[in-house]
């Protein structure tokens, strides 16, 4: 009898455990790393019905959309001005109530607010790299194609940068979770006078870059490239080093496992070439290097090298153009810098094989829009799509946004003469980003912090010590990367 009781107890325990584990299984999951998942059970709702006006357009009545945006820097006032424009145009119908949340805490803050339904936004505008995290935690919902059809608000990813829109599904087959808005990376300013002085043209590939640098050093005796590299609090690794990797065909992580795979071919060679391409600049022959790699190099000191006419190129952020030009005018006592400061791109700078299809790639941060899972009313969903379409596909809006250094991700706008011939685009953006299809960003991993921190370590350890063995560094840092991924799973 006692035995039977024990067996019964064991069976019950097994049954209970089975139920518990079954409950833990996400019906929509399979492998978390699978980028081809299918949604079998929705975690969002649709309520209400659309109503239409006499022109067949969706009728909105005082819908307020709470927008959480990561835009909070020097571009904030322009962003705010764009929101004001939308609110004016749609007054009485749709109002955007935007709140900026700092980049450092954006994903965790927004996820918490949506999870706890406390001050939750309806719409998110943030860097693409965080969106996989949102979808994995079921914070956001897809934009419904049925609703797009019904509302006639169509947003087609074929109209957007190929390099960016490929992330829009966030790993769910045939779904549209995330809509690209713009892109930005570190860009290049150059001194036209100095370039002319050394008798050179702008470089179009890595070898030409080295030739220009050599000519500059011989003529001027100072480093031709000013950039805030090495400093570990700096974005140089996030943009310039990653760009070098992309241009040499490298992959920051394996897209199916999300782990680093830097030690097997062809990625090992790609990573090695990327490091070498920068070593060509920071470890060039001679006392004066083509570019510094110095812990003490700060934003300010590298900027001064350029504005004091010691450097030919300055690699920095596009949204600081105004402060750069203002400082140049002040220090050089000039009124206008149009004939002095030119703009160009990092495209092709680091590619060891200039004929490669990857040579022109630029690693960017890109703002994407995503909709909170808490939005249920279909009129509100339609209003959100209406706003996204307005923001990303209206040329006048994109031109205004471009004035802060953000190039449009939408080809419907970017290919228009109106956009291309805009004074700001002509002077800056067209040169910074020659081909928006070549823009790439973090992609579909929720471990982007791990990626970036280890890329930074790799860059620092192989470039601060240019004699360091690249292969062993790739192996050791890869291990650390993958250990961290395993720990966080």
């Amino acid at each position: 009898m006692k035995k039977i009781k024990w067996i019964a107890l064991l069976c019950v325990t097994i049954l209970c455990l089975t139920f518990v584990f079954a409950g833990c299984i996400d019906p929509n999951a399979g492998n978390d790393d699978d980028d081809d998942k299918v949604i079998t059970e929705k975690w969002w709702e649709d309520t209400g019905e659309l109503s239409f006006n006499s022109e067949g357009k969706v009728k909105y009545s005082n819908i307020t959309i709470k927008l959480a945006t990561v835009v909070s820097g020097e571009d904030k006032d322009t962003f705010k001005s764009i929101i004001d424009d939308f609110n004016r145009e749609y007054k009485g119908r749709i109002a955007i109530d935007s709140e900026d949340i700092g980049q450092a805490n954006f994903e965790s803050t927004v996820a918490q607010r949506i999870s706890t339904k406390n001050k939750a936004p309806d719409l998110i505008m943030s860097h693409q790299k965080g969106h996989k995290y949102f979808v994995e935690n079921k914070i956001i919902q897809p934009f419904s194609k049925d609703l797009m059809e019904q509302s006639k608000i169509s947003i087609d990813m074929n109209d957007y940068s190929a390099g960016l829109s490929r992330y829009s599904s966030l790993g769910y087959k045939d779904e549209l979770f995330s809509i690209p808005c713009d892109a930005q990376s570190m860009v290049v300013f150059y001194n036209k006078t100095l370039l002319e002085e050394i008798g050179k043209e702008l470089p179009t590939n890595h070898q030409e870059l080295l030739d220009v640098c050599q000519a500059f050093v011989e003529r001027k005796g100072t480093s031709p490239i000013a950039w805030p590299a090495a400093n570990q609090n700096n974005h140089w690794y996030n943009y310039v080093f990653t760009t070098a990797i992309m241009q040499n065909g490298g992959k920051l992580y394996d897209e199916s496992t999300k782990k680093a795979d830097w030690t097997s071919e062809p990625n090992k060679t790609a990573m090695t070439k990327a490091i070498q391409s920068i070593r060509d600049l920071v470890a060039s022959e001679g006392v004066v290097k083509y570019a510094p790699f110095n812990d003490k190099t700060s934003d300010d000191s590298s900027q001064l090298e350029f504005v004091d006419n010691k450097a030919l190129f300055y690699v920095y952020f596009p949204w600081r153009i105004e402060s750069l030009e203002s400082l140049y005018k002040t220090r050089n006592n000039v009124q206008d810098v149009t004939d002095i400061i030119g703009t160009t791109s990092v495209a092709n700078w680091f590619a060891m094989d200039s004929s490669s299809a990857d040579a022109g790639k630029i690693f960017v941060d890109s703002h994407f829009f995503a909709m909170s899972k808490l939005v249920t009313d279909v009129s509100k969903k339609a209003a959100i799509m209406e706003f996204i379409k307005w923001f990303t596909q209206r040329t006048d809006v994109c031109k205004k946004w471009a004035s802060t250094g953000h190039i449009t991700a939408c080809k419907l706008v970017g290919d228009t003469d109106e956009y291309k011939n805009d004074a700001y685009c002509q002077r800056y953006l067209n040169n910074f980003y020659p081909d928006i299809d070549n823009l790439v960003s973090m992609g579909l991993t929720s471990h982007y912090n791990t990626v970036l921190s280890h890329i930074k370590t790799l860059g620092y350890e192989t470039l601060s010590n240019t004699a360091a063995d690249i292969e062993s560094k790739l192996a050791s840092i890869q291990k650390s990367f993958n250990d961290e991924i395993a720990m966080n799973k």
């Binding site: 307020t64 709470k66 322009t78 004001d84 002040t330 206008d336």
Partner: protein, 721 residues
């Protein structure tokens, strides 16, 4: 037992008979009469002198008091709670005691403000209620331009203090209302260093965000909104209401905000709550008798709202502050409290260009002083870090604060003739007729609110020849940012409101002007402390992130309630405005104007005459036309000069300009000559130039001026003699 029952039965029968008799003859029975009186006076009403505004008050059977407001039949405030919850008593079941109605009329003069002479006229209803141990008076006023209410709490049993747990004052508005508000969002992230990161160490700075439109239906439960807030309850009616608070300083209370307490399908209830950011967590301890701040609702057309003085009118015939020992003072000392020494004028300011390290540089001060003298301005402001030599606490020596953007050569800043020390500098300033205002940290410079340190430092500054102070960071932001000792009071804690008053008083004693930055919104303090001549608490040019729309909305909201130190430049820093927009702002924002820019821009030829004439003390202000989110146009009179200024926001798609109609019928008799200053094409500095054109007008003229997106214009007219 049987006897007892019989006795009880007899008593009950007697009572019933009495009541029956009384019901048939109520006039003969005083008890019944009183009971009936109470039933009949459960509702009261007070109307404005012109009867357009009606404030209705009611008390329900549970003893809760509520009110509503309408303007010309348009519901402005729906049934909304009044009252206080205190720890010592239950004020939810009040008994009505008595009412008093009176008319309050009078007038006063302003040294600074929208109008030099102000008349006030209101009907006031005072309702006295009783609870178990306290009396609560509710004062409700109706003015032609709005309403106001406040409370007076006293103990019926000799109690000296009370703890106010909650103020129930609410404003219930339709969810169809259009609202323009500043979100009250305390923040911790950038202000607190890692070692101190703590959710309770938050702050809120009124100068870091602007006013945005939102439909009331978009305001969610628990959303927090700063005072003032503007709303239009019915889009089909030309009625607006701007709600704020007044008379906080001196009340012993904390500053308040509004919080969405209940969100329904048709109505939104905004409740008055204590400002969350601050050092004191459990605020609200008051001495009895306690008179609360006023809750004010300026109500009417946009013209009524913009021109209203209601925030300051509620002070009635309040006198300027005098110390308690006034009667013992000498005649000469008594003269101080006439405040005749308060002499507002334009103040030159270099900080916007020349930052911390350069504020120690007498060469820069001389350059701006010379410019001020040339323009006929009377003041020069020395900003943060001016006093490194004198080691006054609170200076910032952080490298990032030292990024000047000025160009010495361009601005003609040389060593020639520069005074070599402070005494020589003051001597030079005196020769030029320029008075010096110096910067301080309102808390840190004075030992985080130490009275003795305050007196000591102010005395030192007075001995140095300083004429005024700009006191910053009342919100304690620098302490939070730099990891220094956190003050025990900051932001709008009751103790910090007391500190404001202490500082005003000590400055008044020493004939020092006061300009507050990093501070709360104005709440009428100027009526009692006329030396408090300006105030930030506005998203101004220093933040460098304004938009045209946000600035326009501030003219309809924040700028209405008191002085606004927007600190406009001549040429805008960002791309959100034109030069025409910028030069309109010293006219549209009142208070002692602080003007900053490079010397080169201050020398910009087309605006010299205008800037020499900028009005500080104003006689009259007229709203001419405009709309929130769109544009704003007003006229200001100083003596026989009129300044008409207009700022524009967006233009219609496909259009490059907005046509603004300026009706000059307010000019009065005679011909007025002057100039129109409007945006021209872009200059080499990529800012719009100013085109100055001669103008001559009479009150019969109606001008139509095209103004571009984010543009502006000024018309300066003087009566032809």
């Amino acid at each position: 037992m049987k006897k007892t029952v019989c006795k009880l039965f007899a008593v009950a029968l007697a009572v019933c008979m009495l009541l029956t008799i009384a019901a048939c003859n109520p006039d003969g029975n005083p008890i019944i009469q009183k009971a009936l009186e109470a039933r009949e006076t459960n509702s009261w009403e007070v109307s404005s002198p012109d009867t357009s505004i009606k404030v209705s008050v009611g008390m329900d059977s549970a003893g809760s008091v509520y009110y509503s407001v309408n303007k010309d039949g348009v519901a402005v405030v729906d049934k909304s709670a009044l009252g206080l919850d205190i720890r010592e008593d239950d004020l939810n079941s009040l008994a009505f005691d008595k009412k008093t109605v009176r008319r309050i009329t009078g007038s006063y003069s302003n040294i600074t403000g929208k109008h030099s002479e102000v008349e006030y006229d209101a009907m006031e209803l005072q309702l006295t209620f009783k609870s178990w141990k306290h009396t609560l008076d509710v004062y409700l006023r109706a003015y032609d331009d709005g309403y106001a209410f406040r409370y007076k709490l006293d103990s019926a049993g000799g109690g000296k203090t009370a703890k106010i747990d909650e103020e129930k004052s609410s404003f219930t508005i339709p969810t169809s209302s259009l609202v323009w508000r500043q979100v009250y969002k305390p923040y911790t992230d950038f202000t607190v260093i890692d070692a101190l990161k703590n959710e309770n160490l938050d702050t809120f700075a009124y100068e870091r965000s602007s006013y945005d439109y939102i439909p009331a239906s978009g305001i969610l439960q628990n959303d927090q909104i700063a005072f003032p807030v503007l709303y239009r309850p019915d889009v089909n009616e030309d009625v607006y209401s701007l709600v704020t608070e007044s008379a906080v300083v001196g009340s012993g209370f904390y500053g308040s905000i509004l919080q969405a307490a209940a969100v329904g399908d048709d109505e939104l209830r905004l409740q008055t709550v204590p400002t969350p950011a601050g050092s004191i967590e459990d605020d609200g301890y008051v001495s009895l008798p306690f008179t609360s701040p006023w809750r004010v609702g300026i109500t009417g057309t946009l013209q009524t709202v913009v021109e209203s003085e209601l925030v300051e009118k509620v002070y009635d015939d309040a006198e300027y502050w005098k110390p308690d020992n006034y009667d013992e003072l000498s005649d000469e000392e008594k003269e101080i409290y006439n405040y005749d020494w308060v002499d507002p004028d334009v103040c030159a300011w270099s900080w916007i260009v020349y930052r911390a390290a350069d504020q120690k540089n007498f060469a820069i001060h001389k350059a701006y002083l010379d410019k001020a003298a040339e323009m006929g301005w009377k003041y020069l402001l020395l900003d943060g870090s001016w006093s490194a030599e004198y080691k006054i606490r609170g200076d910032s020596d952080k490298p990032e604060d030292s990024k000047s953007t000025g160009n010495f050569q361009e601005d003609g800043i040389t060593k020639e003739g520069v005074p070599e020390d402070w005494d020589k500098f003051i001597e030079y300033a005196n020769e030029k007729g320029i008075k010096i205002i110096v910067w301080g940290d309102a808390l840190r410079t004075f030992g985080n609110g130490d009275y003795n340190v305050l007196c000591d430092v102010l005395d030192k500054w007075v001995a140095m020849g300083v004429a005024g102070v700009k006191l910053d960071f009342w919100d304690g932001e620098r302490q939070l940012r730099d990891g220094h000792q956190i003050p025990t009071h900051r932001c709008e804690d009751s103790a910090n409101m007391e500190w404001y008053e202490t500082v005003y008083q000590e400055c008044a004693k020493r004939k020092l002007l006061v300009n507050c930055h990093g501070c709360n919104k104005p709440t009428g303090e100027r009526r009692v402390y006329p030396n408090v001549i300006n105030r930030e608490g506005i998203y101004g040019a220093e933040m460098n992130r304004n938009t045209a729309t946000g600035t326009i909305n501030q003219l309809f909201t924040r700028a209405v309630i008191g002085p606004s130190d927007f600190t406009p430049l001549v040429k805008p820093k960002g791309h959100q405005f034109t030069t025409g927009f910028m030069i309109s702002l010293p006219i549209l924002f009142e208070g002692m104007t602080t003007v900053g820019d490079t010397i080169v821009n201050l020398n910009y030829a087309p605006i010299q005459d205008l800037y020499k004439a900028l009005p500080t003390a104003r006689d009259d202000t007229r709203f001419l036309c405009g709309e929130p989110d769109e544009y704003f146009c007003a006229a200001v009179r100083a003596g026989d000069e009129w300044f008409i200024a207009c700022v524009n926001g967006p233009v219609d798609i496909g259009s490059k300009t907005r046509k603004v109609t300026v009706d000059l019928s307010f000019l009065g008799e005679g011909t007025f000559d002057g100039y129109l200053y409007e945006d021209g094409p872009l200059g080499t500095d990529k800012r719009t130039t100013i085109i100055k054109t001669a103008a001559s007008h009479t009150s019969a003229d109606k001008l139509e001026i095209e103004v571009g997106e984010s543009g502006g214009f000024v018309i300066h007219l003087k009566k032809k003699v």
